[in-house]
């Protein structure tokens, strides 16, 4: 059943209460998420881990106010989420940069939309680009940047307005393994400086464990919380933490939990599904 461990030490910033999501289609109702309850402590880095199609991205979109919930309640800072909020920054799977704007202008795009003073945020934008290693690329346009560099710009754009909550939807899944490792380090570096609440969706077990304070596993559709573990490693972390026995132990446990959730679904769906879930 639900294994929810509320963080007792600090107060809850994001609260998901029995969140469910169903889509109506011609072939009937497709239930994507069922009874997902998670409390995220203020300034916690939490990863949602699950196989593709388990509804983890949908969950994130609902938190961003881009998708309505079918049942249950999502609260951020005590307020129910109905539409997008300005104290939230979202990093999508694709960088979605505007091709005619320079890297710096792309970072400042939220400021442009919010109608905030440009001059005040320009310095911050330059500092953020510097921080992700793009200090001298501010005047370049997206097509002059590599995939990894574009996603770095997207990270800066999500942070420019100093959001209290950072939502990330598999932001590095389109990148190669080496670039991905680099960006994981960059992200941690930034996060350890700014330390906002972070909600990270991924299907990479190692990525989730490396980045997070806490990892929640969603089982196969309809997605439900099947495991919730606290990651004990001290910060700041570097990639070497991935070589430790404890790290690999946690990864093993998580892998098992995902596999078991598959098996459970196979059983309930009859033996026909069993072979393909191996």
């Amino acid at each position: 059943m639900l294994a929810v461990t509320p963080q007792s030490s600090s107060e809850v910033f994001v609260r998901l209460t029995k969140v469910g999501k169903s889509f109506q289609s011609d072939s009937g109702t497709l239930e994507v998420l069922r009874n997902v309850s998670i409390d995220v402590a203020d300034r916690q880095f939490i990863s949602i881990l699950g196989p593709s199609g388990c509804g983890k991205s949908t969950l994130l979109m609902m938190m961003a106010g881009l998708e309505p919930v079918s049942s249950g309640l999502i609260e951020i800072a005590g307020q129910p989420v109905r539409t997008a909020r300005r104290d939230v920054g979202v990093i999508f799977q694709d960088p979605t940069l505007l091709p005619w704007k320079t890297a710096l202008e792309n970072v400042l795009f939220p400021i442009e939309i919010y109608g905030l003073p440009f001059d005040k945020y320009r310095v911050r934008a330059e500092a953020l680009l510097e921080l992700v290693g793009l200090g001298d690329a501010g005047q370049r346009r997206p097509r002059q940047l590599s995939g990894g560099m574009r996603q770095r710009v997207a990270i800066c754009r999500a942070l420019i307005h100093e959001p209290k909550l950072l939502l990330m939807d598999e932001p590095f899944s389109a990148l190669d393994a080496i670039t991905r490792d680099e960006l994981n380090v960059t992200l941690l570096d930034i996060w350890e400086r700014h330390h906002q609440t972070a909600f990270f969706v991924t299907h990479s077990i190692r990525e989730a464990v490396f980045l997070s304070d806490r990892v929640v596993v969603l089982g196969r559709r309809p997605g439900q919380v099947v495991m919730d573990v606290t990651i004990p490693f001290a910060r700041p972390r570097d990639l070497n933490v991935g070589e430790t026995v404890e790290f690999n132990q946690i990864c093993g446990d998580l892998r098992k939990a995902i596999a078991e959730s598959h098996a459970a679904v196979s059983r309930s769906n009859g033996s026909a599904r069993k072979s393909q879930n191996l």
């Binding site: 961003a64 997008a84 300005r86 999508f92 979605t96 505007l98 005619w100 320079t102 590599s146 680099e182």
Partner: protein
């Protein structure tokens, strides 16, 4: 962090290489077609002189240029209304077509009820409708403008609709997450994304506006380069027909060039 995928080339070397390549490209792109035209004109001139073909069938280029010079006042006097009416028709079609395009993109009701009819309307051979405009608006500039507008209108509508829908859906989602208003999405996202489409539409529309005005001048027979062509043709003054055609080419070149220049300036600003 590391600098990934940066091609190492000294900035000075790169700049001079880029400039050299650009100059070579421009020379090739402007000089080559001009020289080709020169050669063809020379062949034409030589053919007329050697074969002794009658000027009423095919005048020599030198004769055409001469006629153009001799009749310059008449030609200019008639080129002005043609130019003005073309520009008027083009500007009106750009405004009205653009507005209809925006309406069709934003209102599902307008799209569902109007768009199929717009497409159907576009299938009418528009030149065939020209006499109707004479009936409704008389033989003055109004009907020539209306014919130009009618012909030039549709490419603008189609390109506006496809341009405004050419936005990456992920970018719209980003805007939604930033709580952007519809107004902001239109001006900051949809419009810039649609610019290449709009300019393509406008270039087509400009050439069609010229056709519209010439057709109008053929029918109304009042003034303009189309009238000169028709009139001179009926008197077998082939040289004059060709001289007027040449002026018409120049007018078209200037009008089309203006749109193309605007496109280059604006697209430069939008990073292409």
């Amino acid at each position: 962090m590391t600098q990934e995928l940066l091609i190492v080339e000294p900035e000075v070397v790169r700049r001079s290489r880029v400039r050299r390549e650009a100059v070579g490209r421009v020379t090739r792109r402007t000089m080559l077609p001009v020289m080709t035209a020169m050669v063809l004109l020379a062949i034409w001139e030589a053919f007329v002189k050697i074969s002794g073909i009658r000027p009423v069938i095919l005048p020599a280029p030198s004769d055409i240029l001469q006629a153009m010079w001799v009749q310059r006042e008449l030609l200019i006097a008639n080129a002005i209304p043609t130019t003005m009416e073309t520009m008027g028709g083009f500007v009106l079609s750009a405004i009205l077509g653009g507005l209809l395009g925006v309406l069709l993109s934003y209102s599902a009701f307008a799209r569902d009820s109007l768009y199929p009819n717009v497409i159907l309307f576009q299938l009418i051979p528009k030149v065939a409708v020209a006499p109707l405009f004479i009936l409704w608006l008389g033989i003055g500039w109004e009907s020539r403008l209306a014919i130009a507008l009618f012909i030039a209108f549709f490419p603008i509508v189609i390109s506006t609709v496809s341009g405004l829908n050419a936005v990456d859906p992920a970018v719209l989602r980003l805007c939604e997450s930033l709580t952007a208003t519809r107004f902001q999405v239109f001006f900051k996202i949809r419009l810039p994304y649609s610019l290449p489409f709009l300019f393509n539409g406008m270039k087509i529309s400009m050439t069609l506006a010229i056709i519209g005005v010439i057709v109008g001048e053929f029918i109304t027979s009042q003034r303009g380069l189309g009238y000169i062509i028709l009139f001179a043709g009926s008197r077998l003054e082939t040289t004059m027909v060709m001289a007027a055609l040449l002026v018409l080419c120049l007018v078209g070149l200037i009008l089309y060039g203006t749109v193309a220049l605007a496109e280059r300036l604006i697209m430069k600003k939008f990073g292409d």
